[in-house]
């Protein structure tokens, strides 16, 4: 659905985006992660046809956004991180205006407004004045506005910023509902756990460069080269550690942490090798109470990736 090739954006001396390449399939949610000023909003604005890139290509459903930004407007819906509202208008009037602005014929417009309000769970707000709505309610109305012309691609820039936990959870459910309607979503957010649960793919960007890209699991596996395994013994954790060290060399297994009878080891091996490791412990008389593999969460992945990138840039600067 979305193909980005060699996208670069330069503001005078600042390189905001450097040779970005992305492929996002139809009906997928893509989570775009990065610190402030990393280039997320720049990317989204280029995809929306609001900003001209310095070079590169963006294709949405076969439409070249850079060459033909007007045509792209029909397939793209954009919700900026903070959007304005017109004072003194009711919600339905606001949506009616944007419906007319998208040239939706009057006969179809009523249905479109109703559907958009229904999809976003904003039916009850129909007659409210927009300025009297809370931030969460406004976000829903904003999303309803972007859905009016039934775009195939939705670009949501920090949509959950400033929302309370309940509103965030509801908004997350809303995004899943939109995905089920076969919409392709690009969502940028700082709140990483919520992206981890809803995104099919993620991209981590820092200083205009895409550092990691792929499914959430793939990215985690790439970043987390050693698997973290927690093993709790009923007794004799010390002896078990000695056993593990004697059987495995340090490149293969490293005891990361030991608290009481709980031991965390970092192990670079396949699932079969983990089975062998546990089997060895049990057959050698070590009393294993339970074991579990702890996966890195998205925040840890993000921190690790961006730290590596910073360290890399420092090395380059040092040279």
């Amino acid at each position: 659905m979305i193909a980005i090739e060699g996208l670069t954006k330069r503001y005078r001396d600042i390189l905001a985006l450097s040779d970005l390449n992305l492929q996002i399939g139809a009906g997928k949610i893509f989570g775009y992660i990065g610190p402030n000023g990393a280039g997320k909003t720049t990317t989204i604005r280029i995809i929306a046809g609001l900003l001209k890139p310095t070079s590169g290509k963006v294709l949405i459903a076969g439409v070249d956004v850079v060459a033909n930004p007007r045509a792209a407007r029909d397939v793209v819906g954009f919700l900026p991180d903070s959007f304005g509202v017109y004072q003194g208008m009711r919600v339905w009037e606001y949506l009616d205006f944007f419906g007319a602005a998208y040239r939706i014929p009057r006969k179809k417009r009523q249905d479109k407004v109703d559907q958009a309000l229904s999809h976003t769970g904003a039916d009850a707000m129909r007659d409210y004045f927009i300025e009297s709505l809370s931030h969460g309610m406004r976000q829903r109305v904003g999303l309803a506005k972007t859905l009016l012309h039934d775009p195939k691609v939705l670009l949501l820039d920090e949509p959950t910023n400033g929302l309370d936990p309940r509103a965030r959870i509801e908004f997350r459910e809303l995004l899943i509902r939109l995905k089920s309607m076969d919409k392709t979503l690009i969502v940028s957010s700082h709140i990483l756990p919520e992206l981890a649960t809803i995104c099919d793919h993620i991209g981590i960007i820092e200083q205009g460069k895409l550092l990691q890209y792929g499914s959430v699991q793939d990215v985690m596996k790439t970043v987390q080269q050693r698997r973290a395994i927690d093993i709790e013994f009923s007794t004799g954790a010390g002896a078990a550690i000695e056993y593990l060290k004697s059987v495995h060399d340090e490149e293969n297994l490293k005891v990361a942490e030991s608290v009481g009878e709980l031991v965390r080891v970092e192990f670079s091996g396949s699932d079969e090798e983990i089975v062998e490791l546990l089997n060895g412990l049990v057959t050698n008389g070590h009393k294993v109470l339970w074991y579990s593999e702890s996966l890195m969460d998205l925040e840890q992945v993000y921190m690790k990736v961006t730290q590596q990138a910073k360290a890399g840039s420092r090395n380059i600067d040092g040279e």
């Binding site: 954009f78 205006f97 944007f98 007319a100 998208y102 004045f129």
Partner: protein
């Protein structure tokens, strides 16, 4: 504490590009006046009429520029802090409310006074011609300083009581311009009666323009046998000082109120959107309540026009009703004066006053109608939404222009009584009245397009409103120069320039004895206004088209 606030305010104001451009244009205008009016002969001649006229025009320009610039500095001073949520931060600091107000006022005044001082080197040229004494210079600069203080405080007081920069600017400009021109109207109407002279003279002295005229035009202040009449400039300084003290008090009280817990008229705070929605149906909103307009926008309708009507005119833009109400009141007063014939004023005076009132109204109320047209979309962060929609530059601009015409219609309805009397008294033929109507309409169009073009080029509504007022003032006031200084112009140029002035063109149509030495001007005026309006619209169109394209 206070000095840090002044320093911050001064730095943020003076280091902007806008201030540099304003200073440049300001000095250019003043220097232009001096160069243009510099006498060819009679150097060192105290009696030379031209040198005296030069000082008069220079000082009038100086005061007019101060009046135009002061609101731009102060009217958004407090309200922008409110909009940025930084006003509370100031109150949360160790600054006391009076320090905040004094800091803002002093910083704004210093900026204004810097502008006044800038003019001094240009003004000094008057000494070489012997046109002005040191005593007069001190008085002139005292008037300028007091005008800066008074205008600045008007802006500050309105800023403290407004909730948006746009509203603050609109109110300040309306008030300041009304103060500059309004006090002359009673004098024009009632000065023929010796009984009224002291009253209308004292009232006219509220205008800084009358203070300058009193100082530089011999015989400007009338004589009265009933009571002693003080020169207008003395009265003006008293008024401005007293007004400044009162306004400072108002701003201070507001600041102390703001620093305390919020004062509410009712114990009950309503934050339920459903309840708020229900309450908005009350008077005056029920008259034009959006609930009645359940119908969707028609396909043929310009959505921008419809949205502007819904959100501004009938969604809360109560000021337009107040404007129309004011029109109606003034119009009825003029009507009663005419019909009652309370003073022995001539039909020519009546008609000139009516036209002056109408054109003054256009100057006061029209530019802000469109000055926020594009800048408000930017300030509300709606421009991206418009870019993404299918609304084009033509639809956007024509929608804004159309809705402004609807507002003008309200104002026109308010002026109907005045014109009924003129028609009833058969002072002019229908053709003459239609011509005047066309002149007024073309001035309205000029005012609206000057607002649009300013709005399309500038980022802030405040700057756009100031620029629109400036453009209109240039057209309406500077074209009066040939009337004040006929000897400086060749006949052709004088006629050409006078034809650009709506007031002159309209008065000439209704009073055939006025401006009889020149040819009929109204045709040229209509042509000029339409061409200039068209040019403004085209410039706005080009710029908005660029604005709606993807950014670079």
């Amino acid at each position: 504490m206070l000095s840090s606030l002044i320093k911050r305010e001064m730095t943020t104001t003076l280091r902007t590009q806008r201030t540099r451009v304003m200073a440049f244009l300001y000095l250019l205008a003043l220097a232009g006046v001096v160069i243009w009016m510099w006498p060819d002969q009679a150097l060192f001649s105290v009696a030379a009429q031209s040198t005296r006229s030069m000082v008069l025009v220079f000082v009038l320009t100086l005061v007019a520029l101060v009046i135009l610039y002061a609101p731009a500095v102060t009217a958004t001073s407090i309200v922008s802090e409110k909009e940025n949520n930084s006003y509370d931060l100031l109150f949360a600091s160790r600054l006391r409310p009076w320090e905040i107000v004094a800091g803002k006022l002093l910083a704004a005044l210093l900026v204004l006074l810097i502008f006044v001082v800038f003019s001094f080197p240009v003004f000094v040229s008057g000494f070489f011609l012997g046109a002005v004494s040191i005593q007069e210079t001190i008085r002139i600069y005292a008037i300028c300083a007091v005008t800066s203080l008074f205008s600045g405080l008007i802006g500050l007081a309105i800023s403290a009581r407004s909730s948006s920069s746009y509203a603050a600017l609109l109110r300040t400009y309306s008030f300041v311009l009304l103060l500059g021109i309004g006090p002359w109207i009673p004098y024009i109407l009632l000065s023929s009666s010796s009984f009224w002279i002291p009253v209308v003279h004292s009232f006219r002295a509220l205008s800084p323009l009358s203070a300058v005229s009193s100082l530089l035009i011999p015989g400007f202040d009338p004589q009265s046998t009933i009571t002693e009449i003080r020169p207008a400039w003395v009265l003006y300084i008293w008024y401005a000082c007293a007004g400044s003290v009162i306004l400072f008090g108002i701003v201070l009280i507001d600041a102390y109120r703001m620093s305390g817990p919020p004062v509410r008229r009712s114990e009950k705070v309503i934050d339920d959107p459903a309840e708020l929605s229900r309450r908005r149906k009350r008077f005056p909103f029920y008259l034009v309540d959006p609930d009645r307009r359940k119908r969707l926008l028609a396909d043929w309708m310009n959505p921008v026009y419809a949205r502007e009507l819904r959100s501004k005119a009938f969604g809360g833009g109560i000021w337009i009703f107040r404007g129309a109400y004011l029109c109606l009141c003034v119009s009825i007063i003029l009507m009663v004066l005419m019909l009652g014939n309370f003073t022995q004023f001539t039909p020519a005076t009546i008609k000139a006053t009516a036209i002056g009132f109408q054109i003054g109204l256009v100057m006061l109320l029209i530019p802000p109608l469109t000055a926020g047209g594009i800048t408000r979309e930017r300030e509300l962060r709606m421009i991206d939404d418009l870019r993404l929609s299918r609304i084009g530059a033509w639809q956007l601009l024509s929608g804004k222009l159309l809705v402004a015409f609807v507002f003008v219609l309200f104002l026109a309805i308010g002026s109907v009584p005045l014109w009924i009397v003129i028609v009833y008294m058969q002072m002019n033929t229908p053709q003459e009245l239609l011509t005047v109507g066309a002149i007024l309409l073309s001035t309205v169009l000029l005012g609206l397009t000057s607002g649009l073009v300013s709005s399309s080029f500038l980022r802030r509504t405040s700057a756009a409103a100031a620029a629109a007022y400036g453009l209109l003032c240039v057209v309406v006031l500077s074209t009066l120069l040939p009337y004040l200084q006929p000897e400086k112009f060749a006949d052709v140029i004088r006629n050409r320039l006078l034809s650009l002035n709506p007031f002159v063109s309209a008065v000439q149509v209704v009073n055939s004895d006025q401006f009889s030495q020149t040819q009929m001007l109204w045709r040229d005026h209509l042509l000029f206004s339409l061409i200039l309006s068209g040019l403004f619209f085209i410039l706005a169109y080009i710029n908005v088209r660029r604005l709606l394209r993807p950014e670079n």
